[in-house]
């Protein structure tokens, strides 16, 4: 193994690193060329996608510190695409425009973290990826120095996130201590022969808790609403999409490859100790708490945050199921969700720019101001609610069918029924958002302020929102390309 080989296999990451440094340097110039920074960042990310495509099919470096499989390549590409959409969104966001170079450099650094997370099967490297992502995202959250909410969000996210990191690190160290190795595959082998000791169980649970913070699963979700509401919108979108996708990929790898022998079962009346019942409890709590609290929200970003908690619950369902089917369903669902949410935040960002806020009242009459934005938002909300022919519907069908298929007695039916009940609740609040957008502003309660001007949506935002909406529609109508790729990539 020489450095040239390393550089060849880690070229996408290296490329994004260089891009981030270039963007940072450009941003330091006196003229502060924001548009130039955006273009350099976007083109750099696009080149990174090409670089990922040119990687070999399979490779392993340093005993799993860096692995390349079809799965890692696929999700590196997805993370990069999400990063490009975030950069596009940041291009027109006022709070991100100040010191634009630094903001974009932070996004790029976070992207490198995500790529490392996705592309590693070794505990230490995973932790480094987590920290790189986390630290960049804390900065991105508190980036808007003129807004106290942003500072509050950043501080909260930082405090919760660092506690979560501490949990993860502690858990990982216990696992390392019991197994004597940090490679996931080696841990998996050790665990098949070893009997389970309490210390190891503690390590597994602590690792899970750390990740539950990352993906905002209840009861470790408390940072999410404030962060989603207070952070600059592109940052919130990236936290909710890219960071979540990568976290689910790596969480899946840890539990299936590393802790595979300890899965246990969460089937009704047939619970077997292991991590599956723990994850099932996390999923059930997230679905219930997320959906119920979202009912009471009046701020769209906060509502999306609580709905994100519920969606984390649905996605965890796939991990409870386990196996190729369950993991595949989780990955499909989280991908579809990420694209939907980036789009939804994109619409929220434009509405905020036009009306100065992102409460439900700010969405009143959006249809008159911009039928385009209203249509996109309808697609995103209905996909989140799980209605066909959109990505969310297919994702749910796949997840739930995997959950019922897993054993003869339909032991996970309780979780599926709970999730369906949650979707029913969620349909209500998504429809409320659409009601504000589409209903006429004739009633006096909704008529506030002067008559609206037609929204001014730039060409770039138009293209990015339209392509996101098209992606959500495409994943719903023709899911087989992505599903076939995911299933082919899974062992």
């Amino acid at each position: 193994m020489n450095y040239l080989e390393l550089l060849r296999l880690a070229f996408p990451e290296a490329h994004v690193t260089v891009t981030s440094l270039v963007v940072l340097a450009l941003g330091l110039r006196r003229t502060r060329p924001a548009a130039l920074c955006s273009w350099v960042a976007a083109i750099g990310l696009a080149f990174a996608i090409v670089a990922v495509l040119r990687l070999p099919q399979n490779a392993t470096l340093f005993g799993g510190m860096l692995v390349i499989t079809p799965l890692t390549s696929l999700f590196k590409i997805i993370c990069l695409v999400l990063a490009i959409f975030t950069v596009t969104m940041a291009h027109s966001d006022s709070s991100a425009r100040r010191n634009h170079g630094e903001y974009l450099a932070m996004i790029l650094l976070a992207t490198i973290g995500l790529m490392l997370l996705v592309g590693s099967e070794e505990l230490l490297m995973i932790f480094i990826g987590l920290e790189l992502t986390g630290l960049s995202l804390y900065v991105l959250t508190g980036f808007d120095k003129s807004d106290p909410r942003s500072a509050e969000a950043g501080l909260k996210y930082f405090l919760f996130g660092s506690i979560a990191s501490a949990f993860t690190l502690f858990g990982l160290s216990l696992v390392y201590g019991m197994c004597g190795t940090t490679g996931l595959a080696a841990i998996g082998e050790k665990l098949t022969t070893q009997s389970v000791q309490p210390l190891l169980a503690a390590g597994v649970v602590m690792t899970l808790i750390g990740f539950a913070f990352k993906i905002a699963a209840a009861p470790f979700h408390l940072w999410a609403p404030d962060t989603y509401q207070g952070a600059p919108i592109p940052s919130a979108a990236f936290i909710a999409s890219g960071s979540k996708v990568a976290s689910f990929v790596v969480l899946g790898k840890i539990v299936f490859v590393g802790f595979g022998p300890l899965q246990g079962s969460a089937a009704w009346h047939a619970i077997v100790a292991g991590w599956a019942p723990v994850v099932a409890v996390l999923a059930a709590l997230s679905i219930v708490i997320g959906n119920l609290v979202a009912l009471a929200q009046t701020n769209v970003r906060r509502l999306l945050a609580y709905s994100a908690i519920a969606h984390a619950g649905y996605t965890l369902l796939g991990l409870v199921v386990g196996g190729r089917d369950g993991f595949g369903a989780t990955l499909f669902y989280t991908t579809g969700y990420a694209f939907t949410l980036v789009g939804a935040f994109g619409v929220v960002a434009l509405v905020r720019r036009e009306t100065g806020g992102d409460d439900l009242t700010n969405f009143a009459g959006l249809r008159e101001r911009s039928p385009f934005l209203a249509g996109c938002m309808a697609i995103f909300m209905l996909s989140l609610a799980g209605l066909p022919p959109l990505a969310g519907f297919f994702g749910k069908f796949y997840l739930f069918s995997a959950a019922l298929r897993v054993d003869e007695n339909r032991g996970l039916l309780w979780l599926v029924a709970l999730a369906l009940f949650g979707s029913l609740i969620s349909l209500y609040y998504y429809l409320i958002i659409l009601k504000w957008i589409f209903a006429d502003r004739s009633s006096s309660s909704q008529r506030s302020g002067p008559d609206p001007l037609p929204s001014n949506v730039g060409l770039l935002q138009r293209i990015s929102l339209a392509s996101l909406a098209a992606a959500v529609l495409f994943l719903g109508i023709a899911p087989s390309p992505l599903i076939a790729r995911i299933l082919a990539a899974l062992p």
């Binding site: 519907f393 796949y398 339909r410 209903a439």
Partner: protein, 488 residues
């Protein structure tokens, strides 16, 4: 060929979003008429025998076994036909929609296209996609163009539909994961374990029956009908309630025959309660649309009773009743819409003072026809359907026939009451008050040609089927005989 109904209607819907709004209603009309044309051609196609025939079959999501599979038999054909008829007349009755016409017809055509899709799907997943696709358009149709208490009615209807959909979802998943297939023809031959059927059947049936207005899950129907715009009510009564009944028949009953056998007595009980209860409630309503809304629930009770009989006659009659109620329900709501559009009230007390039979003779004529059909007077489709159901249930549940007889008297009572109070009411009132609000003072606009055409299509359909029910029944019976839940 009949698959083109789906494509044409979706294409029309997309076209509506792209073209200016002056063209909206013409596009909608052209689309729905084209759908009707395709349906009629397919219906009279000599090659079509009434048994299950595959039209299109393409792989869709191979890793999970989903196929784009459309097929047609006598039941699908009948229901596609009623969808087409209702769609044409709903568009005609929306001719005066001035506010946001593009969106209105877009949502309307989505409901129609989704319904065609449900009736023609032969793949469980595909059917469910179309079934759920119909939910959201209804919400927007009611929310934006509705009237009385529209936000409540729209949300209630949507949540009920979605809750029913969730139950259906569980039932479909149970069938899918047990049999490992989504193909309806394969599933219809698969022997499901009795323990699975015992719980999967009621879940699936109840899910579908929610949309068909089964008592006690019917409450979305009256409020939804009242809140909806005229065309919305017509679609709800004419098409959407049929989706539920069709799903119950095609999927719940045909996939889980043993489960059906275990539960069918309960279905009959609920159906009979629905018939009598809804008719009794309709008798006490002041709002004309509430009367019609409850009459819909009552008529759908006949459909469910027919399904519960599990013999060829009862089930065929039930499908015929789906057609018949689709046409009659749409006609009744259309007339209610005509009245409301001109008088701005649907209160029977106020209407009875207006003597509308003089000012709106055409509407009065149509309402007499519709009432006669709704009451089950021979010569109209309602009679043919209900008598077939009752003969069928005489074999299975003689007691139910007696109780239903009471229900039919109630139906006649509330229908006649609504007819009298809305159109022939003035004679009962003191002369002084009648002159104070004399009908000449009311600036009622004339019944327009689109309205006459729309009502004419529906009246023709109910008369034609009433006079010659064999036209539909032959095809329906063939399809019903192929089902596997029939009792010997």
């Amino acid at each position: 060929m009949i698959a083109w109904t789906i494509y044409l209607t979706f294409a029309g819907a997309v076209l509506l979003l792209l073209l200016p709004c002056v063209l909206a209603r013409w596009i909608a009309l052209a689309t729905s008429v084209a759908g009707l044309g395709v349906c009629t051609l397919a219906f009279f196609d000599p090659a079509g025998t009434g048994s299950f025939q595959t039209i299109v079959r393409l792989p869709w999501v191979p890793p999970l076994g989903m196929e784009y599979h459309l097929a047609v038999d006598g039941i699908s054909l009948t229901l596609a036909l009623v969808t087409a008829i209702t769609a044409v007349s709903a568009v005609l009755f929306s001719w005066d929609v001035e506010r946001r016409p593009n969106e209105f017809f877009f949502w309307l055509l989505l409901v129609v296209a989704g319904s065609y899709g449900v009736f023609l799907s032969a793949d469980l997943f595909l059917l469910f996609v179309f079934y759920e696709l119909v939910i959201v358009p209804k919400y927007f149709l009611i929310l934006i163009w509705g009237s009385t208490n529209k936000e409540y009615g729209a949300m209630k209807l949507t949540l009920y539909s979605f809750a029913g959909g969730a139950l259906v979802f569980i039932g479909i998943l149970a069938a899918y994961v047990s049999a490992g297939s989504l193909d309806l023809q394969e599933l219809a031959q698969f022997q499901f374990a009795p323990s699975l059927q015992a719980w999967a059947f009621p879940v699936l049936f109840l899910g579908f029956a929610t949309l068909a207005g089964i008592w006690p899950l019917h409450t979305w129907a009256p409020t939804g009908h009242v809140a909806a715009p005229t065309a919305g009510s017509m679609l709800l009564a004419g098409i959407v309630m049929k989706l539920g009944a069709y799903g119950a028949l095609r999927i719940a009953m045909n996939l889980f025959p043993e489960g059906f056998e275990m539960w069918r007595d309960w279905i009959a009980v609920l159906a009979v309660i629905g018939i009598v209860y809804a008719a009794a409630v309709a008798l006490r309503q002041r709002d004309l649309k509430f009367v019609i809304g409850y009459s819909s629930v009552s008529h759908m009770g006949f459909v469910l009773l027919g399904l519960a009989t599990a013999n060829t006659l009862g089930v065929s009659g039930s499908v015929l009743q789906m057609f018949s109620h689709g046409v009659i329900g749409a006609l009744l709501f259309a007339i209610a819409g005509m009245i409301y559009h001109r008088t701005h009230t649907r209160d029977l007390g106020q209407l009875s003072r207006m003597n509308l039979s003089r000012t709106m003779p055409f509407a009065a004529f149509a309402f007499v026809i519709a009432s006669a059909a709704s009451m089950g007077i021979p010569g109209f489709s309602g009679f043919a359907a209900e008598i077939t159901i009752l003969i069928g249930s005489w074999k299975a549940y003689p007691a139910a026939v007696w109780i239903t007889g009471v229900g039919m008297v109630l139906v006649a009572a509330f229908t006649l009451r609504a007819l009298k109070e809305s159109f022939f009411g003035s004679a009962a009132l003191p002369v002084g008050r009648a002159t104070a609000e004399s009908p000449e003072a009311l600036p009622l606009s004339r019944i327009t040609i689109p309205e006459k055409l729309g009502a004419g299509v529906l009246m023709f359909a109910t008369l034609a089927v009433g006079l010659y029910p064999k036209l539909l029944l032959d095809r329906i019976t063939l399809a019903v005989e192929a089902m596997r839940f029939l009792q010997p």
